[in-house]
Amino acid sequence: MVTAAAGAPSEARRSRWRQRQAQGILFGSPLILGIILFWLGPMLYSIYLITQDWNLISEPAFVGLDNIRDALNDTALWSSLRATAYYTFVGVPLQLIVALALALLLNQKMVGRSVYRLVFYLPAMMPVVASAVVFNQIFNTEFGILNHILGVFGIAPVNWLFAPHWAVPALILMSLWFTGPQMIIFLAGLQGVPKQLTEAASIDGAGVFQRFRHVTVPMISPTILFNMIVSIIGSFQVFAQALIMTNGGPQGATRFLVLYIYQNGFEYFKMGYAATLSWFLFLIVVVFTAMQLLVSRRWVYYEGGW
């Protein structure tokens, strides 16, 4: 009796708990199903495709490790990787510097600060296609405003999108237009820097640069790390602007890895090979992210310890 009496409320609680769990799962099911069907499912299927030769039209055929072997011997893949690495490792530091500089400026007390923040964030809300059209005009060798400005300083016109050695720098310049999200994250980080620390540093005689170098940067180092990881992942996935503005040219200079994957999958009908390259890209991103997290222990400061 005692056991039964004590067990009854507990059983009712468990039943209620189960009901709540079931309801939670049911309410969450659209998202869960979406992830399984449209994210996890294709991901797992793409692992299967690594061993297949599939043209999307007929049945996949087992080819063992041929796709991996092809990738290792594919010179176009390596030149595509070089282009992607160039875009990433030159572009990301520049993006972070510009975003941080903008965040520092917009963290100052000034009239119309919110408007400026909105204005600098706006380009990030613009579709890449629209931006690509605008930048096509900006980079135009004969009629573009960029060459016009350079001409004022006596610099000869640059063949931005048609010369192989200028096309990637042009797309890097364009990427600075989209630094709004990084800027907002830096801004949030800067607002979390305790005022008493900068004030104490000032009292100790630290100048603006010293305060920035020894107080601000360490305090926002987790934000820098986050922005760096996200930007590197984003840069490895650069696609739309290369497809629209240069279609991988001139002479393959902007055929970044994701564009090369797209071409193999949807232009050459090599879905197995495209899946192999996608996992190759995934591994690269994972390795770089892991390396950054590993190295970050040396320079990222977490107030609560880590």
């Binding site: 043209n55 999307l56 039209i57 080819v63 060798t141 004969e142 009629f143 573009g144 040219g249 071409q263």
Partner: protein, 461 residues
Amino acid sequence: MVNRRTTSRRNVLRSAGALAAASAASACGVLPDGTKRAFVPDVSAAGEIRLSVWGDVSDAAIYEEVLDTWHRRQNKYRARAEQYTGNYYDKVLANFAGSIPADVIYFQGWHFQPYAESNVLQPLDEFIERDGLQARWPKLPTFRDYTQWRGRTYMAPVDGGSIVMLYNKDIFDERGVPYPSPDWTWDDFVEMVPKLTFKKGATKYYGFAQAGGWLGGYGRAVGFMRRNGHVEWDRIVEPTEQRWQHEDVVSALQFTLVDCLRNRWAPGPSAVAGGGISFATGKVALTPEGPWYLPNLHGPLATTKAGINYDVVGLPLGERNPVRNSWSLVHGHVMSAQSKNKEAAWDLIKFITSDEGQEIVARGGRMCATPANIKNIWAPIAGKAFNFSHTDAFADSQAGGVVPMIMGQGSPISADGGEPLDSVWTALELADRTAEQILAEYGPGVQAVLDDYWASRARSN
């Protein structure tokens, strides 16, 4: 205690779940031939077939009229058109991947081969023979290459185009240069272009442009490269060897790209991209283009209000072994092997290729595919609509035209270009090296593409 008949949260959730499960179950299914059907209604089963058409505005109007007329002419079959605007082939491919291809599908003559190779298209030979319609497939090598794959006919020629030379009569008159005659040669062309380049006030006029509004590409240059009969491949369909270092290929690309761009006889990439300099704006004397470009020159869609005072002529003949080898394009319809109503699909294809169907195609602004239909149906309509005289140039070019190349599945190169041919073109457009140097650099890469193509075939076999 009052028993309130309210809908409990649990009941709502149960009902929603049951409804979702029922919908999913009813939408999924397996077709009689074992292919899986995705979440789409089975229109073929209801007696209606699907026709996929190219995404231009003119195509919507053409196929609306085609279907209306076809429906009036017979009561047995019904069809509806699906227009895929932008990235047409991606959508066709997605339909095949999802086992829901349209019954009748529009293709350019050098794009359907990978599908035929995968056995997802229906050969038309038996239908053609049964109905005695062989005459609709002209006995020309071009039509054989564009409509057949490995000896079987898959595509019905519906519309097309051939590249001819457009010339701006006002610019010729201004410079006192005689108009090109039908027997003009490569040497005449080379001599003419610098003479037709000049400046009047602040406006620069160019002697030549590689295409109307863009820099052209491989297919556009074929007529110049093959002017003396040399072909840049060992064969047109699935070549095994590249022959791009031949003097005719080198001289054609050296003049039409490197020399013209270096000497500014032709507008450069940025002038074309951002400056609006093209034949349609009246700033270019000569440009090789197809019939689809004519609406830009005269009529309600013309780029300039007054239109262009122009005419057309075949591409220049070769200087040694005079042949005219311009790119002849043939587009048409194929039938899906999965179609549940092949007789209806064939009946529709038959109608589109009939004189009545071809007249609708011509009235809608597309050039008919066969030389006979071009001459008899399209030319009288187009000559009047687009205000030019030498309509025969198109029919002749289509009859004597050539195919750049045809490849099967997995090839990165085609008549449209592709890598590394696109890189050859961007290198030529830079004009900082000779065509000979560029072709020597990229030749091995072009050969490697062919070698890879054949190696992958050997592996699959």
